[in-house]
Structures are given as structure tokens and as C-alpha cells.
Symmetry: C2
Subunit: 332 residues, 2 copies
Amino acid sequence: MATIADVARAAGVSPMTVSNVINGHPHVRDSTRAKVLAAMTALDYRVNVAARNLRRGRTGVIGLAVPEVNRPYFAQFAAAIIAAAQRRDLRVSIEQTGATRENELAVLGLSRNRLYDGLILSTVGMGAADTEHLKVPYPVVILGERIFNGPVDHVAMPNAGGARAAVRHLADRGCRRIAMLTGVETTEVGVSELRLTGYRLALQDLGLRYDPGLVQRMDEMSMGAAAERVHAMVTGGLDFDGLFCLTDTAAMGALRALADLAVAVPEDVKVIGFDNIEEGRFLVPSLSTVDPDHQAMAESAVGLLARRIDGGAGHEEFVSRFTVIARESTAV
Amino acid sequence: MATIADVARAAGVSPMTVSNVINGHPHVRDSTRAKVLAAMTALDYRVNVAARNLRRGRTGVIGLAVPEVNRPYFAQFAAAIIAAAQRRDLRVSIEQTGATRENELAVLGLSRNRLYDGLILSTVGMGAADTEHLKVPYPVVILGERIFNGPVDHVAMPNAGGARAAVRHLADRGCRRIAMLTGVETTEVGVSELRLTGYRLALQDLGLRYDPGLVQRMDEMSMGAAAERVHAMVTGGLDFDGLFCLTDTAAMGALRALADLAVAVPEDVKVIGFDNIEEGRFLVPSLSTVDPDHQAMAESAVGLLARRIDGGAGHEEFVSRFTVIARESTAV
DNA sequence: TTGTATGCGTTATCAC
DNA sequence: GTGATAACGCATACAA
């Protein structure tokens, strides 16, 4: 637990010089540097990050608030964020909000304590009415739609566009009664609504009638809930030949339910998801999906945040590009 | 950005009294407390965590080092750890090691900087020879086998026992040529070897011959690699009627490959995994597995760490209990 | 019950 | 090129 002072004493220099060596200042004589480095090694010196943080007014840590890391999509995203942060010498502390407005607001408060240099926040529970809460004295990047006018950067998925393309993909493969498995939205511009908009737009494009009965809303986007709902849809006699699921996770549950009921995929019903989680490739049948390019989103989120932390101004919005990935679940 | 001093001035008391109020000290007159609280609200005061950390010599953050959060098993574990830590008012910062020894050692160095109060480390790349590296001046809980003699707590999975039960489960369902999909182990007491031990013990129990040709080692435990290997096993004419996979993730790849080759599961080959990831329930066929009770492991890991952070002594080992979960992939 | 003094370890400033 | 000084904001020990 040696301190800079200990090192300075051992090397016969002032603490300041040690600090200069540590931080790679240019104006240090080589022989001095060598002495200091030797003393540091001898004493097994380690910087005390807490002291440095206090002095510098920074922590080198960014917060990442997601509903739950144990959801394939967020796990994938978190992994990408951590990797991108690592490249910039930033650490990532993860908060789980459970997708509730309350917890999302609480996380926003945390960074006020200078716990984090900045925050990447996945807003699921918060709505446009909460814009005020985003006026915090540190950089925030919202992972989600541009639903706030506050001074924050946004990294958004191509929700409407991706959904539109997914539904068109189903139609291209011959589907005419396309159902959608979506969520109960707390906000008017959340993921569910935006993808639903894409769904409706696609129907318009295609000249298909919008049938509210085909839009199935679930309280919770879990595999289990999706399986149950699809089970109910089929046994309830709902007529559909295509199914667009809000997420790949929900699609996994849907595929399972269809298998249980001996509804053949893709012959009887074609299924497409959204997110392109890794597991989708290995399901039987493999899952068609919309890939929103998490990699680019993560890189952009960390990049925007880092720029703002370093004093950059202005609020940007990044919308990633999507790709429809055709696999067995929508084969002709 | 008000400080304690600002609040004290506003409330007409000393900084110390403000501090006492913040930290809930008992001996503060109610009227004084009220004054202080009012001033805090008025100035929107927030504790500066960096300063508090420096003073207290603690950060309130624990590190969690795993190969990658984007692997179902570790995602599940991370979620449980974060939740358990939250209950104890600790935050969790995640480091991804990529399962390399190098990075695992690097993480051990990090906490030396008083970045974390303690560390939960999933050792995959490190071996018994690295015991010395664990002698660090802060609490460490190893997630993995008791392969080190260092002063660290262990939270281990019932690797050998779980594997033994899994293989016995296959045999009970009629399998006689049971293959195992495992990893190339860098250490002599890693997960692969321990589960392989369980595999061999089970064969002994059952009076079945050990055939090295049935033990398939892979460099990487990904779904893709597993699929490729199983494909090669089948097309190469390897004769097996049961398959024990090191992880559920590998099993997912295996199931996919078997489906591609029209090998019926469970009729032709029965498959069982290890980990009980959530996805397993929804696969077609659903995946039998060994559940090592992550919840208990996570709770125990955080508990042990918290106890050590608070000065508790002694090194403990917690081995969770397992359950074999029978699903369709091993149905008779 | 409240206040004073002091130090945690680092680094910015500015002088030498 | 190097060093003295001060300050970051808080909490501990002790005094009043």
C-alpha cells in the first residue's frame, strides 16, 4: 500500500516528480524517471484510484443501465459496450432497472454523486413526460428512441423501418394474415408502438387490411409469456399464416408453442423476430430476424458518451442500419 | 455541485453536523437535522462519492470478471450477482476476460488500485500454478473449483457430481454408447476435466467401457463449434446413442447439427447439457440438463465477499447442489 | 449535542 | 527539469 510520498522518499525526489512519471509527463530527465520507476517497482506501488478520482473529478467509469443483463439482447449489447469502453480505458458498471420507470430515474440520480462519468440508459419505463429528469449535470446517452427533448444523445434502433421490412419479408414469402406479438406500451413512443407502426406501414404498402385481432399484446416479453400467448392464439382459432415477434426472445417462445401444437414452421406459419440474437441461428427451425447492428450501436453509444465526457457539445442521434436475415423460419 | 461546506453555511451549522446528518448519526437534535435537510434539498446537495471513497478507503463497488457476459450462463450469473449485490448496497463493475489467463491476472491487478472493494473472479484460463497471483490485499472469491491454495473463498459448481448424474441419467434412459462434448483444458482441474471425471465415474458405476474415441474435445465452447463437431462425429460414422455436452450452449449447437443430419433426438440420440440456461426449456426438443443452482451460487459469492470486505476471516468453500432436469431431449 | 482540526493520496499551479 | 504548496470533499478523533 505504498503511496506516491513513499515512492518519492525512496527515489529521493519530490512527490510531484513521481506523479509526473506516472502520468507520462514529457519534461522528466531519463535518469530521474529510471530512479522513480525503480522505486515504484521495489515498493510495488499502485495508484490509488479513489484519490485520483477526487483530484481529477472523474472516475473513469460509465454506468450502463439496462432492464436485465440476463436477456439475450441486452447481454449482447452489454458485452459490446464493455468491449468498446475497454478500448477507451473506461470501465462499465451495470445497473439493472427491471424496466421500471422508478429504477430508471433512480439510476439517473446516481451519477449525480459523481459515481459515473456518464451514463448509457436504456429507457423502457420512462416516457416523454420524464424529459425533465434527463437534465442532469453529466453526459447521458439514451439507448432508445428520440422521445425526449432534453440535452442528451440518442442511439436508436431502426424500429419502424426494421419492423416494416420484417413484415414485408413475410408478405414476400406469401403470408397474407400476418400477426404481431407485441408489448403493452407504457409510453406512446416506445419500442412496441414504433414497431407496430412499421407493421401497419408495411400492411399499407402491401394493400393488406389492418386487423386489430392480429395484434397480440403481452404484459411481459419473455419466452414463457410468448409461448403461452401463441398457444392461446392457435387453440383459440385465430387465423394467421405469418407472425412477426417484437423480439427474438419472444419468437423463441412462439416457435416452441407452434411445435407443441404441430403447426409447421415455415409451412403453416412463417415466423420472424427482431434483434438477431446469437441463439437464433441454431434454433430448429433457425429464426429469421432483423439485425439492428448492435455492434455499431454500442460503439456509437460509447463514442458519443466519451466525446461528451471530454467536453464535446451538441446532442447527436445515431440510428443504426438494419438488415433482414432470412433463415428457415420464413423459408418458402 | 454543492459541497458539505455549502450546506453547512446555508444551514448555519458546521460541516461536521451536516456529515452526521448524512450518515444518520444518532446524536443530532431534531431541529438541527431539519435545518440541515432543508438546506440539502434547497442546494440539491449530493455526496461526492469519490471524496467519501478516499476518506473511507472503500468504493462500494465489487468487480465481477467473467469470460464474456454475452454467454447465457454468465449472463444469468451476472444478473444474479448484480441483484444480490444491490441488496447489500454494492455496485458491480463487469470485466470481460475472454477466458484468457493473461486478462484474468490483469483483473486481479486492478483491484490493487482500490478500484474495487473485492473481486469475484471466474477462473478459466488460470491454473494451479498461478496460486501466487491470488495473494492480493483484498477479498477475492473464485468462481470455480478449489484449484488454488491461496487465501481465497471458492464458490464451486458440483462439476463431477453433476456430470456423473447426467451420464447416469442417459444410461437410465437406455443409452450405452455415450459420447461427451468437452473442452481442451488448459488446467488439470478445470471444468472440462472435472466433468470428464464425472463422466468416467458414471461409466464405472454402470459397468460401461470407457472409449476415448467418444470423448470429443473442442477448442472453443460455442454453439457454432459444437455444431461443427457433432456434424463431423455423425458424418464420420462415430457410433453413439447418448451425448453429454459440457454446457447447454454447446448442446444447442449439437441439437442443431443433429437436426440437420436428420438424427432424431431423443429417438436416435439422447442429449443432455449442463447449466440449465433459460433457453433450454424452449428449444425443440427441449433440453435436459443439470441445474447447478446459480441463484445460490451468486448469493453465496456476494455473501462471502461482503463478509470478507467487512473484515470476516477464514476461507470458505461453497459447493452448490445440483438437480438433473429431464426434458424432451432425453425422453424415452 | 455540536464544532475544530486534520488527513485520506493525488495532481494543478506556479515558482525555481 | 524539479519541487513547494494547496486543494479536491469528506469523515474520524477529539475537544468543547
